[in-house]
């Protein structure tokens, strides 16, 4: 925003008046941008307070958004591994189970069907449950044949899975169909709710940032009242008079964005250990993702825009009040 590249002046002697005007316009922009930055720099304590306020107000919603995307990543991962388990009736023979498997596999919405016959199931159960001795006391095998159905990618949505469940339930010989998606749906519902809350919070905090900058710029306008008067007296346009304050707002925004980014990185670093341990306990590949380069850039740009907007509000509200009418006296 500050430093537009510019061709060296004087190199081209035959430059048109328009070129010259555009050039001096850019030079002026650079000068104003630099001067507003220097002004902030000259009052480091006051400026950094504003930066901190902005940084905190920006970091909070961004942190929640990051958490949200990480959670959405979790549920997306689980949807990919969604499987439907169809338990067949107790009396259904193995031949019928094989027929059913072929029938289900015919459906284009289904990627794969695995048949686990009752003997295999018992062996697995025996191996994993630690109830070997107890199972020996059973007369027969109480477990049914089972079909483990993996839906096609296109049918892995919540509604797609649901239609598949209805279809499987309608098959002769299938007794019970189970999808362990309940918790996933709850997680989805929760992330949806969280998403709305985060956006509402982000909006409120953005408004707070605009107001904070607006107020700070209002004070700056009051401090430079004389300068504004003189600029208006000698024929400064409104845009000319506004410019330094808009740059001030943008610089406040940029500083706030940088503080927010630093806050985010520090808290991520601080949280990363515990999060990894927790995810490990859940055997999840969940990870809190930091801001990407693009994300950080977007944060800075949004922060600058908010600062600029805040300055604009203040300027609109207060600059028009300063008119040179009173200077000349009665």
């Amino acid at each position: 925003m500050a430093a537009e590249p510019r061709k060296r002046a004087g190199a081209n002697k035959a430059s048109s008046p328009w070129q010259e005007l555009a050039e001096s316009y850019l030079v002026h922009h650079r000068k104003v941008a630099r001067e507003s930055a220097e002004r902030l720099w000259r009052t480091p304590v006051a400026s950094s307070m504003t930066w901190m306020v902005m940084g905190v107000a920006l970091a909070l919603p961004v942190a929640l958004l990051l958490l949200l995307t990480s959670l959405q990543g979790v549920s997306a991962g689980w949807e990919n591994s969604a499987r439907i388990t169809a338990y067949l009736g107790e009396g259904v023979p193995l031949e019928r189970a094989r027929e059913l498997r072929a029938e289900v596999l015919d459906d284009s919405r289904i990627l794969e069907v695995e048949l686990i016959d009752k003997e295999q199931a018992l062996a697995e159960f025996r191996g994993s449950s630690g109830l070997e001795d107890a199972l020996d006391y059973l007369e027969g095998n109480p477990l049914p044949h089972t079909l483990v159905v993996t839906p096609d990618e296109t049918s892995r949505s919540a509604s797609g899975v649901e239609t598949l469940v209805t279809r499987l339930q309608g098959l002769d010989g299938v007794e019970r169909v189970q999808v362990d998606l309940g918790w996933l749906q709850r997680l989805n519902a929760m992330t949806d709710l969280l998403a709305r809350a985060v956006w509402a919070l982000a909006l409120l905090l953005a408004a707070a940032v605009v107001l904070v900058i607006g107020n700070t710029v209002r004070l700056a306008i009051e401090n430079r009242r004389d300068e504004i008067l003189v600029a208006k007296l000698v024929g400064g346009t409104d845009a000319f008079v506004r410019r330094p304050f808009l740059y001030t707002g943008a610089w406040f925004g940029l500083g706030g964005g940088v503080v927010a980014w630093v806050l985010l990185q520090v808290s991520l670093w601080w949280l990363s250990g515990p999060v990894e341990r927790l995810a490990g306990l859940y055997r999840s590949d969940f990870a809190l993702n930091g801001l990407s380069f693009d994300g950080a850039l977007a944060l800075l740009i949004v922060a600058m825009l908010l600062g600029w907007l805040g300055a604009w509000v203040a300027v609109k509200r207060h600059l028009d009040d300063i008119e040179p009418g009173e200077v000349a006296g009665g």
């Binding site: 002046a9 004087g10 010259e20 005007l21 050039e23 001096s24 316009y25 030079v27 002026h28 004389d226 300068e227 008067l229 003189v230 600029a231 208006k232 007296l233 000698v234 024929g235 400064g236 346009t237 409104d238 000319f240 008119e323 040179p324 009418g325 200077v327 000349a328 006296g329 009665g330």
Partner: protein, 223 residues
């Protein structure tokens, strides 16, 4: 250059500052505007600078009717009018040079031209060696001259001065008047509001006299 046609300015509170004022100033003319305090001198200057709009009549500066001028055009008119104030209106947080450079910066003059023109202007008022000082370090007369340098730095066709010698001793006042005379010789239309009768009589120039908002002398001739 400056023309008033039947100009009346009435403020809300039944107070009429100017009543049907008619006069016109030619290019390169130097005139005084005088009258008791509250006679409407400042109002007249404000109308030329479009700080106020007339209640009736027409104000024409440089061939442009100011009555219906849109608000965003006002800055461009002011660039053609240099103004010198009694209280200088200088900015003390910057150097003499930067003060004088302001009208040029506002117009978007390239930096290399600004230096040249500011120095030419300071040279004219005899303050070339003080460009790096703060106005606070200067005497009252010098501050006033900085104000004049700022008013003429962009070579405006019209120069207004509101009590420019108000706080100065007679010798300094004569110096400043001499400067104004020089500007009028190069074609600048100069209008000086003042109630320093002795000084005005010394100069032997056209004098517009206001009394309770009415122009009672000096309105008759001129181009």
């Amino acid at each position: 250059m400056i023309e008033f046609r039947q100009v009346t300015k009435r403020y809300d509170s039944d107070h009429t500052a100017l009543r049907q004022v008619n006069f016109s100033l030619a290019r390169g003319e130097l005139a005084f505007l005088t009258g008791h305090s509250g006679a409407g001198k400042s109002t007249l200057l404000k109308l030329i600078m479009v700080m106020e709009r007339p209640s009736a009549g027409e104000v024409i500066v440089g061939g442009q009717m100011l009555n219906k001028l849109p608000k965003r055009q006002i800055p461009y008119i002011r660039r053609h009018i240099g103004v010198v104030f009694q209280n200088h209106q200088l900015l003390f947080d910057r150097t003499v040079f930067d003060n004088v450079a302001m009208p040029l910066e506002v117009m978007g003059v390239p930096a290399r031209d600004i230096g040249r023109r500011v120095r030419a202007s300071l040279d004219k008022v005899g303050l070339l060696n003080k460009e790096k000082m703060s106005p606070l370090q200067l005497s009252g007369g010098e501050q006033q001259r900085v104000g004049i340098a700022r008013a003429v730095v962009n070579k405006p066709p019209v120069l207004l001065a509101d009590e420019p010698t108000g706080n100065l001793d007679p010798e300094l006042s004569a110096d400043i008047m001499h400067l104004f005379g020089q500007f009028s010789q190069v074609g600048v239309t100069v209008l000086i509001a003042s109630h320093d009768i002795a000084l005005i009589n010394d100069m032997q120039r056209r004098t517009l006299t206001l009394d309770h908002g009415q122009l009672i002398a000096g309105g008759g001739h001129g181009g």
